[in-house]
């Protein structure tokens, strides 16, 4: 099926080490338009590090990145944004002292013709997108430190969605959320998928992976254990990949 088309993202043999320890060791994963690929593994397995090479937070020591078949170099977060790669970090990466609009447009502020910040326009745009993502959101004029976990999450998501992302990286987007908000994120993922975005989803909760992802790539100790289509495997298969580092196919 989609695997025959050109992948939206292809990470090839990515390696990066910190202080002599290989955090990511020759890992290759790919992502197609309209697909959700789950990245799984224990803490320290290298998922977040791998994905930070794509979002520009880290520079890979070896390996290549292809976007829609073309080789690209991503040296910093700005390069990633230029490739329409948006990231929702586990820490949310919000400046707590700024309000929602300032965070949403951070690094990409709307400016007036005379070169000054267009605060009203930015707030108006923020109100529009928040009305779509989280209609209960009303706190536009307070710093985001005054918001609840779910509200902060929706600001971080709005930031990723607003700028017409083609590739979305979500690092445990539901870790800090209650059941209702988790459901909201799940719906959003389905909607974005329909729009043709490719999504890398780092997730601990195996149920969410089975529900939301098309494929799952499992990492252990910096190495890729394997990538499987979620339909073809059971929860137990994936768990054994995570825990034992064994691919169910190898069983036999």
């Amino acid at each position: 099926m989609t695997n025959k088309s050109t992948p939206l993202v292809e990470l090839k043999d990515i390696s990066i080490s910190f202080g002599g320890i290989k955090a990511v060791d020759k890992v290759s994963v790919d992502l197609h338009p309209g697909e959700v690929v789950g990245l799984l593994g224990h803490n320290g397995a290298g998922k977040s590090t791998l994905i930070k090479c794509l979002s520009g937070a880290y520079n890979a020591e070896a390996g290549e990145i292809f976007i829609s078949g073309e080789k690209v170099v991503i040296n910093n977060p700005r390069d990633a944004r230029d490739q329409n790669i948006e990231t929702i970090y586990q820490t949310l990466a919000l400046a707590d002292n700024l309000d929602a609009a300032s965070n949403l447009f951070l690094g990409r502020e709307i400016i007036t013709k005379s070169g000054f910040l267009d605060e009203s326009k930015m707030e108006a745009e923020t109100r529009k997108i928040m009305a779509r993502l989280n209609p209960n959101f009303k706190k536009f004029d307070v710093p985001v430190s005054a918001l609840s976990g779910g509200q902060r999450q929706s600001v971080a998501i709005a930031r990723a969605v607003y700028f017409d992302a083609k590739i979305l990286i979500m690092d445990e987007p539901t870790a800090a959320l209650g059941p209702q908000e988790t459901e909201m994120v799940a719906e959003l993922i389905q909607e974005l998928k329909k729009q043709g975005l490719g999504i890398f989803l780092i997730e601990h909760d195996i149920h969410n992976v089975m529900k939301l992802c098309d494929r799952a790539s499992v990492m252990k100790n910096g190495k890729l254990v394997g990538t499987e289509r979620v339909k073809d495997v059971t929860e137990d298969d994936i768990l054994s990949m995570i825990i034992l580092g064994k691919n169910p196919k190898d069983k036999g």
Binding site: A57, N76, R78, A95, N97, L106, G107, F116, L117, E123
Partner: protein, 438 residues
Amino acid sequence: MNDTTSSNNADDKQESFISRFIAATEIDPRLLGMLGALALIWFGFHFYGVIFNNFGAFLTPRNLWNLSVQTSSIGIMATGMVLVIVTRNIDLSVGSMIGVIAMAMGLLQVEYLPQFVGLGHWSIWMIAVVFGLVFGTLIGALHGWLIAYREIPAFIVTLGGLMVWRGMAFLSGGGRTISPVDPTFALLGGGPYGAVGATTSWIIGIIACLGVAYIIYSGRQSRIKHNFNLRPMWAEVMLALVGCATILGSVVLVNSYPWPKGIVRQYGARIGQDLEGTFISHGFAIPVLILAAVGIGMTILMTRTRFGRYVFAIGGNPEAASLAGIDTKWVTMKVFALMGMLTAIASVIASARLNSATNALGILDELYVIAAAVIGGTSLAGGVGKIYGAILGALVMQSLQSGMVLIGFDSAIQRIVVGMVLVFAVYLDIVYNKRVKK
């Protein structure tokens, strides 16, 4: 969801007038607190004088005019210190930088330039000022480079700077006092000739009032355009009236402080008229106008430009700022370069006011500048700070000091009081922040 429940309590009616007032005008309660503290200091010193010395010297045009001039140099640096502290840094070197920049400008206009363009040449003051600004910016940029790109803590870099630049000031002048500075340069420090006079002060005051009215009007228009909540009309009108009254009141104040008799006579002799007994107003002092211009410029920079937004973002969460694609190192270096430039402006004013450059110029200024920024609500944890707060903070510090001089406290007691006020002001801020969080 739960924020509707808290305010519908009948017991709250008492305090709700003030909170409604604050909500309607959208004034920062801390601003009101600072103005209250200022009023307390001013009236306190004045009535202390009335009661114990039979003369209230504080609330006189003369004292308040002098106070405004004395505040300029610290106030200008405090606006830059806000940016430094907001980005979680500190600058301990500004006092020493004042000294070395003043010494460089002094030597330039007293010893070097006269050799090339002739003594008293019209261009001397401009060359000296431009040189000072460039020199200050370069020193600041050097500090910023060491801090941002070489990752040496700001505390260490600027502590080193505190010693290095003071030493340089001594070396370059050989310990001498360089005096007198160019007469046009000296005007930048204030004094009767360094003030703009009654008519110009009125013109400036009226332009400033129009500016206030325009800001309030255009703010309202922009809210209407985007369908945001509007301030009630009475609040808008009141803000405009209070703003204009403050501005015009200060015009009346500076215009009611006349030139001393000796200066009037001297001026009369120079223009060949007998001005004996003529009332000539000071008007706004030039350094005060420089402070006002710096304050407006820095406020625009901090609240209306990307640079200002990035400064706050770096202070709030450096990692988030860099993940958002902000070049945090470059911004940090620019912040210190700007601090250097503002210090140079302060150095121009301080040496012009003294009509000389000395080794000791600016000693301990770094502490007053940091104290002014902190009293003005800048948080040492980073991310929070206001330009007008820092200027008010400088005014509070200077009011305390000149008030104590007026009632005859000696300098040891002055330091004790200023030190305690600093600690107390920060404590109040912490208490306030805790209450707001609840």
